[in-house]
């Protein structure tokens, strides 16, 4: 803003602070809930300030789970979620890098046809093709496995497009210079294209990691074995308390745990993330 009026300055800060509070308040409530015992969470009004049971609840959530459940903590579910998110993120990046490379740098028959085929899949997210995909995954015997959790989610039109745009901004002279230097296509891919798309890869990794981590419907469908549950499913299962009141302190602790990895990824990759999405100079 070019104007410099104190009133506007104060106003804009008030609006920003209000926005931050609005977004942060539910998280604060979750945190507070995770620090009290079960009894306190069932008495109204709900507490607004943290209690003293944080570590205790953390231990229960990680290692024991809710009472009356199957006595399993969520530690291994965090691990499952981590595997799923990482495989989806890396898988999507590798596959879309390769397909963008093919589309931009090779002249093969039906190139545009394949390009549009990839484009069309944008209209077919998992939710739309859920029955046939389930059928295929079941027939391949991939239910209740990491493969089943990740493979159907790996192909990504969005990422392919992003890399296509990135590759299109790389000047042709670089390809020509590398041809004169004697680099073959794969060498050019590895030595020039990938290093030059580094920031974009990092930005995409952040988005895709969170996408993978937050998967709900698909894991819910194909995992029946508790060993394969992800933490996002577990939160929902914890709420199915039947006759009893949900054990909010453990549920909220699990929620905090489920939020943690995406937050860590965003915080640590923030700089690269912003650079990858805004930088255009090549």
């Amino acid at each position: 803003m070019i104007e410099n009026r104190p009133f506007l300055k104060v106003l804009s800060h008030v609006i920003l602070i209000f926005g931050v509070l609005l977004v942060a308040f539910p998280i604060w409530v979750a945190f507070v809930a995770a620090t009290h015992d079960a009894g306190r969470m069932n008495i109204l009004p709900l507490p607004m300030w943290p209690g003293g049971h944080f570590l205790e609840n953390l231990d229960v959530a990680l290692n024991q789970g809710v009472w009356g459940g199957d006595g399993q903590g969520v530690a291994f579910m965090l691990f499952n979620s981590m595997i799923m998110a990482l495989v989806i993120a890396f898988g999507k990046i590798v596959i879309s890098l390769l397909s963008a490379f093919a589309i931009v740098y090779f002249r093969f028959p039906f190139r545009m046809f394949f390009f549009w085929m990839i484009f069309v899949t944008l209209m077919l997210p998992v939710e739309v093709r859920i029955l046939p995909t389930f059928e295929v995954v079941a027939n391949l015997g991939m239910l209740n496995s990491y493969w089943g959790l990740t493979v159907p989610l790996i192909a990504s039109a969005t990422a392919t497009f992003m890399f296509r745009q990135v590759f299109l901004t790389i000047p042709d002279e670089l390809l020509e210079a590398s041809r004169i230097d004697g680099a073959g296509p794969l060498r050019f891919f590895k030595d020039i294209l990938i290093p030059m798309s580094q920031t974009n890869i990092a930005a995409l990794f952040v988005i895709l990691f969170i996408y993978g981590w937050n998967q709900y419907l698909w894991p819910l469908l194909i995992t029946t074995d508790q060993d394969m549950y992800t933490i996002v499913i577990q939160i929902k299962r914890m709420l199915e308390a039947g006759e009893e009141a949900p054990q909010w302190h453990i549920v909220m602790m699990t929620t905090l745990l489920a939020m943690l990895p995406p937050v860590v990824v965003v915080v640590f990759m923030q700089k690269l993330f912003v650079k990858g999405l805004t930088e255009t100079e090549k």
Binding site: S178, R179, P195
Partner: protein, 362 residues
């Protein structure tokens, strides 16, 4: 070092556009050949065909004794310097220069030695070798691009308008450096430019291209003194040659320049084409001030430009409308409206056929 031979090279694009219409040239070992012409004349296409970046529709390219039509660029033993340098932005200067050698699989110490030798020739410091290309100035990037070419120790250097991204002062300096470098290394070089000053100063020989056709191939002096066509006459030299469409006299020995002004031609003129239409050409620097009682032509000045070292006078002979440029060395205090006595020496006259646009030999 190697010679480069182009034999009836043609290029037709898939859309039917014919970019090159049959080029023949023999580039000798160690020669510096400049391809020059306006944009779109096919000079870059021709260079890229030699490099192997464009396919050849017809004809053969030989580097040394080897036909290279079907070879990959890396197998042709060439190195190329690009207009925008095409340095790998994520690699250090050193890595940029070493990349090709690394792919060739040379041992580390040989790469090291070659890169350092090239850096020394190009006066790149040790510290600059560790930088990224974007941390260098335009002139330094240009040096790195040349360094990348030098370390390959190729038989042929190809330059694709390497100076056009530099500012005027740096361009002159780099031009000298390229010339010095080529003389020192003695590597056959092919250089593409649209700048006729660059072409004249750098090349042992120039090939003037226009619309994919070779207008003339020759040394800079040949092109300047005996342009083979109207196109070359206008293209080489700055300001460009004065051209006056006119007719030969009835006996073919004289030519009418303006109303009542006739000049006699050298070597008895063109008796066999008496009365024919011709284009008469004379360079601005060859319209000289006549002294004292010499026979002279009256030129009416309309506009005067002072360049310091030279004075450019625009004007016309008598009542003729044809606008002429006169270039006199030194400063001359001439005002618009002044009439100057001008003489033209017979051996500085050029005649062209207006239909074929070719030079008429006197």
């Amino acid at each position: 070092m190697a010679s480069v031979t182009l034999d009836n090279i043609r290029k037709t694009y898939p859309n039917g556009y014919q970019a090159i219409h049959g080029v023949d040239v023999d580039i000798r070992e160690g020669e510096f050949l400049v391809l020059v012409g306006p944009s779109g004349c096919g000079k870059s296409t021709l260079l890229r065909m030699i490099a192997g970046l464009e396919g050849v529709t017809e004809g053969t390219i030989r580097i040394g004794e080897r036909e290279v039509n079907k070879l990959e660029p890396s197998q042709r033993d060439i190195a190329m310097v690009f207009q925008n340098y095409a340095l790998y932005p994520h690699m250090s200067v050193y890595a940029n220069m070493a990349y090709g050698l690394k792919i060739q699989g040379l041992p580390k110490d040989e790469i090291d030695q070659r890169v350092n030798a090239a850096a020394e020739i190009l006066e790149l410091t040790e510290e600059q070798l560790t930088r990224k290309p974007r941390q260098l100035s335009g002139g330094q990037r240009q040096r790195v691009a040349m360094g990348r070419a030098i370390v390959r120790e190729p038989s042929v250097f190809l330059f694709d308008e390497p100076l056009s991204n530099l500012d005027a002062k740096l361009r002159v300096q780099m031009r000298l450096e390229i010339k010095r470098l080529q003389e020192r290394l003695g590597i056959t070089s092919i250089y593409v430019t649209h700048d006729q000053v660059e072409a004249m100063t750098l090349g042992h020989r120039l090939m003037v291209l226009n619309g994919g056709v070779v207008e003339q191939l020759g040394t800079p002096i040949e092109l300047y003194e005996r342009p083979a066509s109207l196109f070359v006459a206008e293209f080489i030299g700055s300001p460009s040659m004065n051209l006056i469409p006119t007719k030969l006299g009835a006996d073919g020995k004289t030519i009418r320049i303006a109303d009542g002004i006739e000049l006699s031609l050298a070597n008895g003129g063109l008796a066999d084409q008496a009365g024919e239409e011709v284009v008469f050409g004379v360079r601005p620097e060859h319209l000289e001030l006549a002294s004292g009682d010499e026979a002279s032509l009256p030129l009416t000045a309309t506009l005067v430009e002072h360049l310091g070292a030279d004075t450019l006078i625009h004007g016309h002979f008598g009542d003729d409308r044809a606008d002429l440029t006169v270039r006199l060395s030194g400063t001359h205090l001439v005002a618009a409206g002044d009439v100057l006595p001008i003489r033209i020496t017979a051996d500085h006259m050029h005649l062209f056929n207006p239909n074929t646009e070719k030079r008429l030999a006197l």
